[in-house]
């Protein structure tokens, strides 16, 4: 019962994990508003290094981290829960067997 709800929550993230890929595809290049009068064309390779930084890896890493963190947390809680559950079951059966002499 408890492990199944952990699985359901895991499903939440698995579904979401596929979605950023979908969000990525219809992606036009952002068109910055042109300055008032462009008097020369500047190819992107001549911009300072910071402006050339591609945004996509940063975006994907950010979303990927969110999923990994949430998934990892669920796994951690699930693992601890099964461990405790096993101990509860063991203790309950010990008690049910009756007091030791």
């Amino acid at each position: 019962m408890r492990s199944s709800l952990i699985r359901v929550l895991a499903l939440v993230f698995a579904l979401g994990a596929c979605a950023p890929q979908a969000a990525q595809k219809p992606q036009p290049q952002p068109q910055p508003a042109p300055p008032a009068a462009t008097d020369e064309f500047v190819p992107i390779s001549q911009l300072p290094a910071q402006d050339q930084l591609p945004a996509a890896p940063l975006l994907v890493t950010a979303y990927a981290f969110v999923w990994v963190a949430l998934f990892g947390y669920l796994l951690s809680v699930g693992r601890r829960l099964t461990k405790v559950q096993r101990e509860v079951d063991r203790l309950e059966s010990d008690i049910a067997r009756g007091p030791r002499t």
Binding site: L5, V12, A55, V66
Partner: protein
Amino acid sequence: MPKWFLPLAGVNAVMFAAAPFLIARADYESTMGLVQKIFYFHMPSASMFLLSAVVCGIASARFLFGGSPRQDRLAHSAAELAVLFGAITLVTGPLWARKAWGVWWAWDVRLTSSLMGWMVAWAYLLVRKYGGPGSDKLAAGLALFGMANVPFVYISVNYWRTIHPKTSVVPTLPADMGTALWFSFACFLLLFTLLLRVRVHLEEQRAKVDTLYLSLDE
């Protein structure tokens, strides 16, 4: 686990699957472009981080002054979630900042006080784990001070010269950005509730183990 848990978890799953489509449809921000879309998960995580700190603080106060073990379990769980959502915030933020500000990190008020609050959450967990007997009260005391930090984190950005966007950005979002943001916020809020419930359940089972051991000894 209560009856509402599984249905709501299902709803949350669907919402999280839908969120990226809303995010993709939102307009690009004019100066930051694509990387600004990190915002739609960064801001809700930060909100959940602060919410966890507040829940932890209130539960700690009720535990200190009322002695209820239920409040103690709630505080412990909330602190763990504060570490989780704080970590997400502190990773997604710098990834966005690298492109938007040109640096991974800046020591402005918002970032510094958030990092500090995150460390308080870690300290809470460390005290609970290694503090020995009485550590529940110690941690509760710490959590109260940590909660005092939360309003400061929120308003700091309005009163100091900082590089972090001010709180006026969110209420003035255009319609499609606003929709994407608040939908993601709802996803995270529901997730927070579900995770908190699961984590409290773990604490309840641990408490059950203790009482079972005690009754075994009798």
